[in-house]
């Protein structure tokens, strides 16, 4: 019995020693564990995991746990977590204005705040609460621009010429319908079911979105022109009701699967799709990104993107700043953008140009089209993106236009409801 006890004790001690050794020596020093909440459109989650491994090799006192969640969780669950003070230390968010009040000002902890100002400066305002002009909450993991992808093979099969640059939305609608009729494609034009996508068209048609005082004035003549186009396209078969008319509320519905299956002639989406199209379509058919079609006012898309930000409730602000400082440094972020096939949200890199080594020639061409379209963005588009309650506007628009498209309400009723919804939600937000 005594022998058995001794053997058991020896085994326990050996196991304890082994476990201590296998932790790579990390157990020897105090280690801070940080949680990063992350969503992915393409392969950027893998790239981030790889970069974090490298960071941890150089900084053995910090361990970052990458929690990969769906995009829906970022919009619906994360705000509740943050409001309850139970959020992560770092998060990748797209509703920058809406979550700004939960973000940590990294400035006091950064090695070189001037570097951040110089390279991420214009985008920092999107992450700040109104009135704040100095905080540095994070950096852009990607700058996105909305714009169309076209199935070139379908145009060739139909023998229809693709409209050139500066063509109008109406020109594209006519050409896409002609192609779809000839090749029996079910979706001549598909817009993601998203207010953000709609406003690219609306601003091109002259929508101002805000009044002179910067307050939302959503429904104007430009807006109505765009809404009428969408409404008419659904009735004439240019757009299928399967996207905009088939779900309720502000539910997002994309047509990326339909585009990848060659069912869509022209797909209005954005630069974040390049990576997955490059990988999944391959040589199945030829696709191209084309400059955003024009309206009477301009040829603007909508800017957007996602930022990696520190969260105010963190107990380790210094460590959070160290992680973000590393990830935002020029070499690291350049690698991140290049491997994820993202338009850079870093001014220095945008000026120098990025070498997308892993991208095919088609993807490289698409990235150039979207990078160039940044210069075409109308001031109203930037203003809407920077407005803290932009999602209130975007959600009201998609919800009500969806009802109009489905035939539940008239366009005039939809306009009244959009204004009412925006007004009511802003009033609710202002109740203190």
């Amino acid at each position: 019995m005594r022998t058995i006890t001794r053997r058991a004790m020896s085994a326990f001690v050996l196991a304890a020693c082994f476990l201590a050794g296998s932790s790579g020596g990390r157990g020897a020093e105090a280690q801070t564990v940080l949680r990063m909440t992350w969503y992915s459109d393409g392969n950027e989650g893998e790239v981030m995991a790889d970069l974090l491994r490298r960071f941890e090799d150089k900084n053995r006192d910090i361990h970052v746990v990458l929690d990969q969640v769906p995009f829906k969780a970022i919009n619906e669950n994360l705000p509740v977590q943050l409001a309850s003070g139970q959020g992560p230390d770092i998060a990748r968010v797209s509703d920058m204005g809406g979550l700004a009040r939960h973000m940590l000002d990294l400035r006091p902890y950064l090695k070189n705040a001037d570097y951040w100002e110089a390279n991420y400066g214009p985008f920092l305002q999107w992450m700040r609460v109104p009135g704040d002009t100095s905080s540095i909450p994070g950096f852009m993991t990607q700058l996105t621009v909305t714009g169309p992808f076209v199935n070139k093979t379908l145009f060739e099969q139909a023998g229809v010429a693709m409209p050139g640059p500066k063509s109008s939305w109406e020109d594209w609608a006519k050409a896409a319908k002609e192609v779809a009729d000839k090749v029996q494609a079910p979706f001549p034009i598909a817009f993601d079911r998203s207010g953000h996508r709609f406003f690219g068209l609306a601003i091109s048609e002259g929508a101002a979105v805000f009044d002179g005082k910067g307050q939302p004035a959503v429904v104007d003549d430009g807006f109505k022109r765009a809404a009428k186009l969408i409404y008419d396209w659904h009735n004439s078969g240019v757009m299928s009701k399967e996207l905009w008319g088939s779900v309720a509320g502000a539910t997002y519905r994309g047509a990326n699967e339909e585009f990848k299956n060659a069912q869509v002639v022209m797909y209005e989406s954005g630069s974040w799709q390049i990576s997955q199209f490059d990988k999944t379509i391959g040589t199945a058919f030829d696709w191209v990104a084309v400059p955003t079609p024009c309206g009477p006012a301009n040829c603007s898309g909508m800017p957007g993107g996602a930022a990696l930000v520190g969260i105010k409730s963190t107990k380790h602000p210094e460590q959070v700043a160290r992680v973000l400082d590393y990830l935002a440094s020029e070499d690291v972020i350049a690698e991140f953008y290049a491997r994820s096939l993202f338009v850079p949200g870093h001014l220095g890199l945008a000026r120098k140009g990025l070498d997308y080594k892993d991208a095919s020639p088609v993807a490289n061409a698409a990235l150039k089209v979207f990078s160039d379209s940044v210069n075409q963005l109308a001031p109203a588009a930037n203003q809407l993106q920077g407005y803290p309650a932009s999602r209130v506007i975007l959600n009201a628009v998609i919800s009500r236009l969806g009802q109009a498209v489905a035939g539940e309400v008239t366009l005039d009723e939809a306009y009244k409801r959009i204004s009412g919804d925006v007004e009511q939600q802003l009033a609710e937000r202002n109740k203190k």
Binding site: A83, E242, E408, Q425
Partner: protein
């Protein structure tokens, strides 16, 4: 040791007999350990009984469950009620401004309750109308199909056990899985449309037409849950004394009359349970329909619970106050339905 009240003495015998049986069955070791554990509990329980009295012991046994029930039902209910009288978008009740009955007034601000378009919160009232429509169709279909299936499965047919399992199987599936499977069947390039085109028909866009979307929402719900209600009715059918049927057979009573005069009246208590459960389930419907149709087309299949969820969580301004008021209204409706169930069950018994 003080004498125990006479009421508990007869319970000592079953305990002893249980211990004796355990010892015999499991040898000695296991029975002895269990016996020691039971004795360990026995003494404090006797003491407790002496303290609180025999009559109050029932409450002692109910207490643990009551604590958990209060924690996860009554406390959230109270918080929900508090939220419904507050506004703003803060999460903590202490940071939310009191707005009285504003949320309820806003919710009930309607030109006509029969026309959702005349209401300020038209989505809520569209949800009410859709939920009502869904509940009625679902209830009638559910009760009819469950009853017919139970009657058939109660007959001496071949493979009866197999069919009972088949009809019950969908109940075991997660509602989200059920909805996804049916979505793949019903979508543009799904199985059903493939079948339709194969026989020379045209594809039907089921999720674009409001009528089809509601039909499939009801169909999928009935398909998924019918097995459960069939089981309840089957148990009721098997409890009907066989001699009643034998007597009817001797009198040469027609089969429809047997169904009408014997089976249905004796099955009535079970039918009441099925009706009320299906009714409550219909009013609470969310997951299946949300995954299947997303509430569309337009708002044709938007249910009240989806409205509550989206108002509270999917909007940028998370309007917890309005969502809480809507959920209190839904709770009141469910409470009234439950009261109706209780009163019907009492009168039936």
């Amino acid at each position: 040791m003080t004498d125990l009240p006479t009421g508990i003495e007869p319970q000592a015998a079953p305990t002893a007999s249980l211990l004796a049986r355990l010892r015999r069955a499991g040898g000695t070791a296991f029975g002895a350990v269990l016996g020691a554990l039971l004795r360990l509990v026995d003494r404090p329980m006797r003491l407790l009984q002496q303290l609180v009295g025999e009559r109050r012991m029932a409450y002692v046994f109910l207490l643990p469950n009551l604590v958990f029930f209060s924690l996860f039902v009554f406390v959230p209910l109270a918080i929900d009620l508090v939220f419904s009288f507050t506004g703003g978008e803060s999460l903590f009740p202490s940071q939310r401004p009191y707005v009285g009955t504003d949320q309820y007034a806003y919710l009930f601000d309607c030109g006509s309750f029969f026309d959702p378009a005349s209401c300020r919160v038209d989505h809520f009232w569209r949800g009410v109308a859709n939920t009502l429509r869904f509940t009625i169709f679902q209830l009638v279909s559910m009760v009819t199909f469950s009853l017919v299936t139970a009657l058939v499965l109660n007959m001496p047919i071949r493979g009866r056990g197999f069919f009972r399992a088949v009809y019950f199987f969908p109940v075991l599936l997660s509602p989200v899985v059920v909805a996804l499977v049916w979505k793949w069947i019903l979508q543009r390039d799904g199985l059903l449309n493939a079948g339709l085109t194969m026989i020379g028909g045209q594809k039907i866009l089921f999720f674009v037409d409001p009528g089809w979307a509601m039909f499939w929402s009801v169909f999928v719900s009935v398909w998924a849950h019918m097995g459960f209600y069939t089981l309840i009715l089957l148990a009721g059918l098997q409890a009907i004394p066989a001699d009643l049927y034998e007597a009817a057979q001797m009198d040469a009573t027609p089969r429809w009359r047997v169904l009408w005069r014997i089976t249905l009246p004796l099955l009535w208590p079970n039918l009441i349970v099925v009706i009320v459960l299906a009714l409550i389930r219909g009013v609470q419907t969310f997951d299946e329909v949300f995954v299947l149709t997303g509430g569309g087309p337009g708002t044709a299949t938007l249910m009240i619970v989806q409205y509550i969820y989206e108002t509270a969580f999917a909007s940028q301004v998370q309007n917890f106050g309005l969502a809480a008021a809507a959920s209190i209204v839904l709770g009141v409706v469910l409470f009234l339905l439950t009261l109706a169930q209780l009163s019907r069950t009492r009168s039936a018994s």
